[in-house]
């Protein structure tokens, strides 16, 4: 058990984030627990609006506030060696402690490489910024370092690109520059929020390849957020499945892909189009729609769409989190029965 603990880099426990809006309260993240292991990749999947980005934003404490607020839980970031940890969830989001973590311990890349850069500052200026800040580099040294960072992510003619503006780069280039920027201070965790959604398929593959290569070189951990099950299968060692702000299933990639437990995960799997399925049946979709973000549920939020729903039971009280096999946790009543024997 201690051995296992030493491998943990970041651990969210019962994280809760609310958005208090005029129209009501959106419980964007509900009691989410997840673990990112050192040097390993955690994939996060789930439909649009299920709270993936907000979970990621909470880890860096950049949830837009107001209206967003962390209302419960903890996010423990463990030190390089040993048990010492900081609870990110309890830090002042404007304070020095979290700023020291941002960009140095944990960095983030985003879906939209265009809007993620300031249009009026050069690429080099924006990449070098973290180095000047965290490493106290001179601006000349930061520029040199930016050039090698650009070279490392495979941007040709980096000494020229470094002085260009973001709009002068193509989409794929920009995402590479974004990665160079995030990795400039060799963080221990890289959060990638749909890093390839805005790119075309060939570029997607290149970017993922690059991320994997850099992960090997740097030994950093990653949290990859995506809609794309293929990306998860390919990149991740562990997977967390989100539904309506809940982490409904967490396990390693083999467990999740070979023995999915939660009915929602199974539905997701069934919805993947495949060549052999095409012959005999139509593309399966999950019945019903994602619930309105303002809705409140006494029981399981997936109840109405769930093919294995147990009336009464699932509707009335929130489902428990059950560890079915070691390291494989699911939030569902179906397994409570089995756990109780």
């Amino acid at each position: 058990m201690d051995q296992q603990k030493a491998n943990v880099l970041l651990e969210a426990k019962d994280l809760k984030v609310d958005f208090i809006l005029d129209e009501g309260t959106v419980r964007a993240v509900n009691n989410v627990s997840l673990t990112v292991k050192r040097g390993k990749t955690l994939g996060m999947i789930g439909e649009s609006g299920c709270g993936k980005s907000v979970t990621a934003q909470s880890i860096l404490r950049v949830v837009p506030s107001p209206p967003g607020r962390i209302v419960g839980g903890s996010i423990l970031l463990y030190a390089m060696n040993g048990d010492a940890s900081v609870d990110i969830a309890s830090l002042d989001p404007k304070g020095k402690a979290i700023r020291e973590i941002r960009g140095r311990e944990i960095s983030m890349i985003f879906q939209e490489p265009m809007t993620s850069f300031s249009p009026v500052h050069t690429v080099g200026n924006q990449i070098g910024e973290a180095l000047i800040l965290h490493r106290r580099f001179s601006s000349e040294k930061a520029r040199q370092e930016s050039i090698s960072a650009l070279a490392r992510v495979g941007i040709p003619k980096p000494e020229q690109r470094v002085d260009e503006y973001p709009y002068q780069l193509s989409g794929g280039m920009r995402q590479r520059a974004m990665i160079a920027m995030a990795l400039s201070c060799s963080p221990r965790l890289l959060i990638a929020d749909e890093p390839t959604t805005a790119l075309d398929v060939t570029i997607q593959a290149q970017i993922l390849e690059l991320l994997r290569k850099l992960q090997d070189e740097e030994g950093m951990a990653m949290l990859i957020i995506t809609h794309n099950l293929g990306i998860v299968a390919e990149m991740a060692e562990d997977v967390v499945v989100m539904y309506f702000g809940y982490a409904v299933e967490y396990g390693d990639v083999n467990q999740i892909f070979e023995a999915p437990l939660h009915p929602y995960t199974r539905c997701l799997w069934d919805a993947i189009p495949s060549i052999d399925k095409k012959s005999d049946r139509e593309l399966t979709t999950i019945k019903g729609n994602v619930p309105d973000p303002f809705s409140e549920f006494a029981g399981c939020p997936f109840f109405e769409r769930c093919p294995e729903a147990m009336p009464e039971r699932c509707e009335l009280s929130p489902p428990p989190l059950v560890e079915v096999v070691a390291g494989h946790r699911v939030r569902c009543f179906l397994y409570e029965v089995k756990a109780n024997g």
Partner: protein, 333 residues
């Protein structure tokens, strides 16, 4: 950048020619001219004007020539000698009539612009970063009042307050002992002691407007992804604010500098009259009403040229601060 400026300058020349022609047409367009109305006025007062006297006057002012020749003569003199022609009404060269007034107007206007920006930008930034706070509401409240009160009314109120409570007479730009004196350090100090009133009066509306614009632009920018990116790098909030969103929010305001230039000369005629300021506004109003052709025409010409030059200045400033414009702006989403 230099190429861009040169290109824009060469575009300026044909534009200025067209403007001068239009200015001239505009001033000759209304039926009658100053001389006709002047003679009618004299005759109605019972003074008979001899025919040769009329002819002489016409010759002096060049009114006997065809319009295009009058135009060419006017433009030639402006370009060669800076001579804008004679003002009929003042019976003095136009340049003498408006020269010092333009300079003083510029001083007031530049002070007003500085006042507006220095007050409005920080307040706008505060209001945007503390949206819906008490002070935000307070600034919004005063902002709308500032926008709603006509300047001349504000001028009257301030003059009354200054006079009634502080026993100050603050009309005019100079106190009587300096008004006719030539320039000296004392006169300058005297002006500075009085200039604040017109600056506040003229600047209030603009300040209120600029606060709203700055607040709105900055709120837009603050929501953008690049702000979050910068935050995830670990930048402190204040440094981040001024390096990224404030910088981008000010960009569109720079284009408004261009419109300020013509407003400098034409603007605030009513305030000028109420406060008895030696500025251009009141003179221009008179010239237009009495068909003082060269005086009015010079105003139209100067105003239009200032508009064009102002736009150019704005564009150059914008290109300087925003690389997307500098490099011919590829807009891509």
């Amino acid at each position: 950048m230099l190429g861009y400026i040169l290109m824009r300058l060469t575009h300026l020349i044909p534009l200025l020619i067209v403007i001068s022609i239009i200015s001239f047409i505009v001033i000759t367009l209304p039926p009658g001219d100053y001389l006709t109305s002047h003679i009618t006025r004299l005759q109605s007062q019972g003074t008979s004007v001899a025919q040769e006297e009329i002819e002489r006057l016409k010759r002096t002012y060049g009114l006997d020539q065809p319009a295009y020749q009058q135009y060419l003569r006017w433009v030639y003199r402006i370009v060669r000698h800076g001579d804008f022609g004679m003002s009929f009404q003042w019976e003095r060269p136009v340049r003498r009539v408006i020269g010092e007034r333009i300079a003083l107007t510029m001083v007031i206007s530049i002070c007003t612009i500085v006042f507006t920006w220095v007050v409005a930008i920080p307040i706008g930034i505060y209001a945007a970063t503390h949206q819906y706070s008490f002070l935000d509401y307070l600034f919004t409240f005063f902002g709308f009042i500032g926008l709603a009160i006509p300047n001349f009314l504000l001028a009257l109120v301030l003059m009354y307050v200054a006079f009634a409570h502080f026993d100050l007479s603050v009309t005019g730009l100079f106190s009587p002992e300096y008004a006719a004196a030539s320039w000296s350090f004392g006169k300058f100090i005297d002006m500075m002691q009085r200039i604040w009133l017109p600056v506040i009066v003229i600047g209030t509306g603009g300040t209120a407007g600029l606060i709203r614009v700055m607040r709105g632009c900055l709120l837009d920018e603050l929501r953008k992804q690049y702000v979050i990116t910068a935050r995830t790098k670990g930048l402190a909030e204040s440094r981040l604010l001024f390096k990224y969103p404030v910088r981008l929010a000010i960009n569109p305001l720079i284009s408004t500098i261009g419109w300020l230039l013509p407003a400098i000369v034409s603007g605030e005629a009513i305030t000028g009259i109420v406060l008895n300021l030696p500025t251009t506004g009141p003179v221009m109003l008179q010239a237009l009403m009495s068909q003082d052709m060269y005086l009015a025409g010079s105003f139209v010409l100067i105003l239009s040229s200032l508009t064009v030059i102002g736009t150019l200045v704005s564009d150059i400033l914008l290109a300087w601060v925003d690389p997307r414009i500098r490099y011919g702006g590829v807009s891509e989403k």
